[in-house]
């Protein structure tokens, strides 16, 4: 799977790219998932230019839906990694509606998402969740490449904390 994402994302050629690149891989629900994420930082504004994803989840029953779900996991994962602050006070969430909880919106979504599946004859395994968690790792690694700072605590960006 990592070999597939390396090949499809042009990992070796990408080293010369001006974009900041991050990779992460994950295993859960008996499936493997990995992303290579390219982002650019201009005047403190972070834009995700491209995400290349690879998944090994057995036989793909519905390729259209499967691709859509991976795209969704990538988009929502980026939103969560960048903005998804959720804090509690006296046992209650402080962000109780969309005026306080910042969800990713269409202008913040990645410009392109390229999804690939490892072809094999294994019975289908998880598809909805496995591509979600590695997005955080790929975002954090790409941010490290761009800024030289490690991001350990989500959300990585906020209104108060803009990038240098």
């Amino acid at each position: 799977m990592l070999e597939l994402v390396r090949e499809k994302s042009g990992w070796t050629a990408g080293k010369k790219s001006k974009l900041s690149r991050g990779v992460a891989a994950y295993f859960c629900h008996n499936s493997y998932a990995a992303h290579v994420l390219d982002l650019s930082v201009k005047k403190g504004k972070v834009t995700v230019e491209k995400v290349t994803s690879a998944l090994d989840c057995g036989i793909i029953v519905n390729p259209l839906s499967a691709t859509n779900m991976v795209e969704g996991a990538v988009t929502d994962g980026i939103g969560n990694a960048f903005y998804g602050a959720l804090t509690f006070k006296n046992g209650q969430p402080e962000q109780n509606n969309f005026d306080k909880y910042r969800m990713i919106r269409i202008h913040e979504a990645p410009k392109a998402i390229d999804v690939h599946f490892v072809k094999n004859d294994i019975a289908p395994t998880g598809l909805g969740e496995p591509p979600f968690p590695p997005v955080f790792g790929a975002v954090a690694n790409a941010l490290y490449k761009a800024t030289g700072k490690r991001s350990y605590h989500q959300p990585f960006l906020s209104e108060e904390k803009e990038l240098d």
Partner: protein, 190 residues
């Protein structure tokens, strides 16, 4: 005349008469309707080309008139504060968040919901949505489609920036944004 007196008389299980005890009365009053009278009024609404009459409180948001009184449940409730776009309808062709539009402000104006966007679900935006297989859970999609249809009415050939600016009021937790953008472009070219 005390606001709650009428209600108090009808409450069978009220064992203690609190009408002459100000502190208890105030406590009791908290649980009663806030208004002096329930003001209901008849409104003539033009929805999806038909005239419909409803008898509701003038403050009722259009969303609940559509869903609860007119049985048009294609329009969805998301946040109630115009922050998510799930309840988007057209008011005289403009995209409006129906959760913050009081019914009294919408009288005699043309309202279009997702049910009335096209007769057979063949509006260019709806066809493009099917072609790109945009929806996942689908909850936000009625609002997304209504916003997209209003965008194309204003800007027939939108750029990426136009789409992003116009559609940024609609959020989608399934993360279908890349497909929404592609589908809006397909609809614009058809």
């Amino acid at each position: 005349m005390w606001t709650g007196e009428k209600h108090l008389k009808t409450v069978n299980f009220c064992l203690i008469d609190v009408s002459n005890q100000p502190k208890e009365r105030a406590n009791f009053e908290r649980f009663l309707p806030q208004k002096q009278n329930d003001v209901m009024a008849k409104f003539n609404l033009k929805i999806n080309g038909k005239t419909r009459q409803v008898d509701v409180d003038p403050d009722t948001p259009m969303l609940w008139v559509l869903r609860d009184h007119l049985d048009l449940q294609g329009t969805k409730y998301g946040c109630g504060i115009a922050a998510c776009g799930a309840c988007t309808v057209h008011l005289n062709g403009m995209a409006m968040r129906s959760c913050v539009l009081p019914v009294s402000a919408a009288e005699n104006q043309e309202i279009t919901t997702i049910e009335g966007l096209s007769e057979n679900g063949d509006h260019p935006v709806q066809k493009a949505w099917l072609e790109h297989d945009v929806a996942q859970c689908g909850y936000c999609q009625a609002g997304q489609i209504m916003s997209a249809a209003a965008l194309l009415k204003n800007i027939p050939n939108p750029s990426d920036e136009d789409i992003e600016a116009y559609m940024s009021g609609n959020i989608c937790r399934c993360g279908t944004y890349t497909r929404i953008k592609a589908a809006v472009k397909t609809a614009a070219n058809s």
